[in-house]
């Protein structure tokens, strides 16, 4: 074969920057880089210039200043004396709260609607189609406003719950009013730690049982009723413990001690005899809860004097900070016996229950509003419902698509092998559908989280309203504030989509 002479070694020429594939990409990138840097520096220099013209600077110091405004829903300690940074934190937590609640409810709604839409029941599937199309094709903002309006316009005011009003509480303990929903709040009493301990242990037991069941199935083939046993393990020990503790300490009723009265008075009589009723109590305990309940039941006005523990409460009682105290019988007798000087406590007729390991503080009507219990504000509920219903409609489509994406052949193959319909669902259909469902599902979560910024429509105090709203407005730091706000959302989004990519790479179907 003939050979060619060596071609002369090429030296670098300028035109190679453009024509040589090796250098060309470098050239393009350098040019792009220069354009990019020019663009950015143009923007930055404009900003600097503008700030200078306005006499402003770029400074995050405002975050340390006193915020001065109140926030109604706060998951961490916050008062108007706290800093703007703290207010931002409250907002961030509120955003995360509504996003989390929204994702949870949207998933439930979406899965139910998606499955029902595939139902053979014509009526149900039509109804779900109406739900899905209705929510998907109308702006979310309109739904938020409409649901908020529905909640404020069509639910009763707190004062309608008063006697003579036409509203009443659900099951006697849930109040749905146009200021929000009040639900009973749990209060942990004596023995609560035991109860929680038992609960944790039963969770561990469930986990252990499932493992055991799995092992046993592998070894012998026997299939244990995992679901039923888990359910039983979940409830029975806790309930048993609860009643046991209730039996042990809840049965004893304890005396109400009062100073400056005679023995044998009822609460009402005593209250009438006194100028004012000051009650020593330790907030957050079941004893205090039941004492207040009794006081309210007797319809007497009183002031609560809070203390941190029983010793202090007793001391306060002795020095006259208050004139009413309730302590266990074991302590009340010595107190009465050892009383000296002008201090002469006597037990009243009424007694109170010390309370169970877990009790619920019922909401009750106070001055203007309900007191006690947990207050779910309308803004939260409206935003939460609207976000969930809206996103749920999208999730329903995703779920439906996911299930439909598993071919009928898969079901048939499973049936032909003798698998029952519910096992077919669990072992064959769901694992496959999940792969299709999860990625778009997570991007729906992302959308929901971002859409939670529509809180502005209902006055929910999310991070946009605190940091990106009032704080910016009070301090005039819009550049810094918006930057932080954008950054927060960006980080949140990247975290969520990072999770998505991780999941995706984990479960990708193996193919040739």
């Amino acid at each position: 074969m003939s050979t060619l002479s060596e071609p002369p070694k090429e030296s670098f020429r300028l035109s190679m920057l453009i024509y040589d594939t090796r250098y060309r990409s470098l050239t393009i990138q350098t040019v792009a880089m220069i354009l990019l840097v020019l663009m950015i520096s143009w923007l930055v220099s404009n900003t600097v210039q503008n700030l200078e013209n306005l006499g402003k600077d770029f400074d995050f110091g405002f975050l340390g200043q006193r915020a001065g405004y109140d926030i109604n829903q706060r998951l961490v300690e916050y008062t108007s004396q706290s800093t703007h940074a703290r207010a931002a934190l409250v907002g961030i937590l509120n955003t995360i709260l509504v996003a989390f609640l929204g994702c949870a409810l949207a998933t439930i709604l979406g899965v139910i609607a998606g499955v029902l839409r595939l139902s053979k029941n014509w009526l149900v599937s039509r109804l779900m189609a109406v739900y899905v199309e209705g929510f998907r094709n109308v702006p979310l903002l309109l739904w938020i406003i409409a649901i908020f309006a529905l909640m404020t316009e069509s639910t009763p005011m707190p004062r309608d719950f008063r006697e003579g009003g036409d509203a009443s509480m659900l099951f006697g303990s849930i109040a749905i009013s146009n200021r929000g929903v009040y639900v009973p709040a749990p209060v942990w009493g004596e023995g609560a730690s035991l109860l929680i301990g038992v609960f944790v242990i039963s969770l561990i037991a469930i986990w252990a049982f499932r493992r055991y069941a799995h092992r046993r199935q592998e070894a012998t083939g026997d299939i244990l009723p995992v679901f039923r046993v888990s359910l039983a393990l979940f409830f029975i020990p806790v309930l048993l413990t609860y009643f046991a503790i209730a039996f042990a300490n809840g049965r004893t009723e304890q005396a109400i001690l009062a100073t400056g009265g005679e023995a044998g008075l009822t609460l009402t009589e005593y209250a009438e005899s006194q100028e004012s009723l000051n009650v020593c109590l330790i907030p957050g305990t079941t004893t205090a809860l039941n004492l207040e309940k009794t006081l309210r039941g007797a319809d007497v006005r009183y002031n609560a004097v809070p203390f941190n523990d029983e010793g202090q409460a007793l001391e306060g009682f002795q020095v006259g900070d208050c004139n009413v105290l309730s302590v266990p019988a074991t302590q009340s007798d010595p107190i009465i016996a050892e009383a000296e000087g002008g201090f002469a406590p006597v037990p009243l007729v009424e007694t109170i229950r010390r309370g169970n390991a877990l009790e619920f503080e019922q909401p009750y009507l106070g001055g203007f509003n309900f007191d006690g219990g947990i207050h779910l504000r309308n803004s939260l509920i409206a935003l939460w419902l609207a976000l969930s219903l809206y996103t749920g409609a999208f999730i329903a489509e995703i779920v439906r698509g996911g299930i439909l994406s598993v071919s009928k052949g898969q079901t048939e193959a499973a049936y032909a092998l003798g698998l029952r319909p519910n096992r077919t669902m669990n072992l064959v259909i769901l694992p496959q559908a999940m792969r299709v469902i999860i990625p778009p599902l997570i991007s729906q979560y992302l959308n929901l989280t971002k859409n939670s910024s529509l809180a502005i429509a209902v006055g929910y105090m999310d991070v946009r309203s605190t940091l990106g709203g009032i704080t910016i407005n009070q301090t005039g730091r819009e550049l810094e504030g918006m930057l932080l706000l954008g950054l927060f959302y960006l980080v949140l989004s990247l975290l969520i989509s990072g999770a998505m990519n991780f999941y995706n790479s984990r479960v990708k179907l193996k193919e040739r």
Partner: protein, 437 residues
């Protein structure tokens, strides 16, 4: 083959059996009802629940709808009419507010004598989108699509025609530079096509338009931005967002597909940042911060700034849609284009993009639906979209206290638009699937 079973009957059917009707329980309405509504206790339960729900909703809504008042001048008049006709306690909708104010809800404060202009603009928009949305239309029509934004701007805002023309000329200048320079070098041409028009817009376009306008004043009555409102505003923002974000989105998608590190990473960063932050934050940025980033003294109106922001926002989403389309093309198409000697831009323009865009149309339509719905967020920065207008209407003394009628009307309008668009995109998807089989 001795093992053949003794009893194996050879069987031959001499005459074919006729087709029979299925047993009675297997056909007709009865079967349908049984199978679709009452098979199994769960199904029965669901049916009953659904019926109860439907009854509940209808029993509340139907009287309200049926007893509606359609013509009245104010809410109190409405109530009077209701008291007269249906009795004082009847639940009754007062759709008179719609008949009274529909023109505001639809056109905002746009001068009524010019209502034809937004309508023409809508038609122009549809005509401009047609080549993108319907694969059957000749590609030449894309030139019209390119010209449409300027035309639409002119029709809507009015003023002298030379302004939009001068701006449009910038693109022509850019293209001319590209063609002129690409004889020498493609890279230089690309660069020139970016730089020259920018210089032109900065220094030449304004004076040129001014000069032309003073020589030859052609134009329509100018309508200021704050007269825009209602569905017209939603449409304008949505349409502008889509029309303008398409080219940008395509560029971003190409950037994201590119293996040039800086271009790729810049595109990715842009897309992720835009998509990671809620639109409402971007809108606030547009209304609060955009002026910080522009040269001191620039001031253009809020609506334009919103359109810019929405365009950037939509382009990130379009980019992802188009990227999907690009990825769906077989590698062979790229190779065949290379093997024929087409360069990058030509192979993109002639081979890759026409195909990728076609695949992306359903996604683009879906993006548009989302964007259209999201235009309601502009109410928070003080633009009068339908929701903003509903607030304004409620603030007037005549209609103070009216609520649901406006929501129902606005919701219904959005539903009709979005639902029909989503049907179209589903139809397209099915069609694509059939073609790709």
């Amino acid at each position: 083959m001795s093992d053949t079973h003794a009893q194996t009957v050879r069987f031959v059917r001499e005459s074919m059996l006729p087709e029979q009707e299925p047993p009675l329980a297997e056909s007709g309405v009865l079967k349908w009802v049984r199978e679709n509504l009452f098979s199994g206790w769960l199904n029965i339960l669901l049916t009953v629940l659904s019926l109860a729900f439907i009854w509940f909703v209808l029993s509340h809504l139907l009287p309200w709808f049926l007893n509606s008042v359609w013509s009245a001048g104010s809410l109190s008049e409405c109530r009077e009419i209701r008291d007269e006709v249906f009795g004082p306690d009847a639940s009754s909708a007062c759709f008179a507010v719609i008949t009274d104010r529909w023109h505001q809800l639809v056109f905002g404060f746009y001068p009524p004598e010019f209502y034809w202009r937004p309508i023409v603009a809508l038609l122009l928009f549809l005509a401009a989108m047609a080549p993108v949305l319907f694969a059957g239309i000749p590609r030449k029509a894309l030139w019209f699509s390119a010209a449409a934004p300027f035309l639409i701007y002119f029709v809507l805002w009015g003023g002298t025609i030379w302004g939009p023309l001068a701006v449009a000329l910038g693109f022509v200048v850019g293209y001319a530079t590209f063609v002129g320079l690409s004889r020498f070098n493609a890279l230089l041409a690309t660069l020139g096509a970016i730089v020259v028009p920018i210089l032109y817009w900065l220094f030449v376009a304004g004076p040129l338009a001014g000069a032309l306008a003073s020589v030859l004043p052609i134009g329509l009555t100018f309508v200021p931005s704050d007269d825009f409102g209602g569905f017209q505003l939603s449409f304008i923002i949505g349409m502008a967002g889509i029309l303008l974000s398409l080219p940008l989105g395509i560029l971003l998608a190409l950037g994201r597909q590119s293996n040039l590190f800086i271009i790729n990473k810049t595109s990715v960063a842009f897309i992720e940042i835009i998509r990671g932050v809620p639109l409402i934050v971007w809108l606030f940025t547009a209304s609060l911060l955009l002026n910080y980033f522009l040269p001191p003294g620039t001031n253009f109106d809020l609506m334009l700034r919103v359109i810019i922001m929405v365009t950037l926002f939509a382009s990130a989403y379009i980019a992802e849609v188009v990227r999907g389309g690009l990825a769906a093309l077989p590698k062979g198409q790229y190779e065949a284009a290379d093997a024929l000697g087409l360069d990058y831009w030509r192979s993109m323009r002639l081979i890759i993009l026409p195909q990728a865009l076609k695949i992306s149309i359903p996604g683009i339509v879906n993006t548009f639906i989302g964007l259209f719905k999201d235009t309601t967020l502009v109410v928070f920065i003080g633009l009068l979209d339908p929701i903003g207008l509903s607030n304004a209407i409620r603030a007037s003394t005549e209609w103070n206290g009216i609520y649901w009628e406006l929501f129902v009307f606005i919701g219904l309008m959005f539903f009709i638009c979005c639902f029909s668009m989503s049907r179209y995109s589903i139809y397209l998807e099915n069609k694509l699937q059939r073609e790709h089989r």
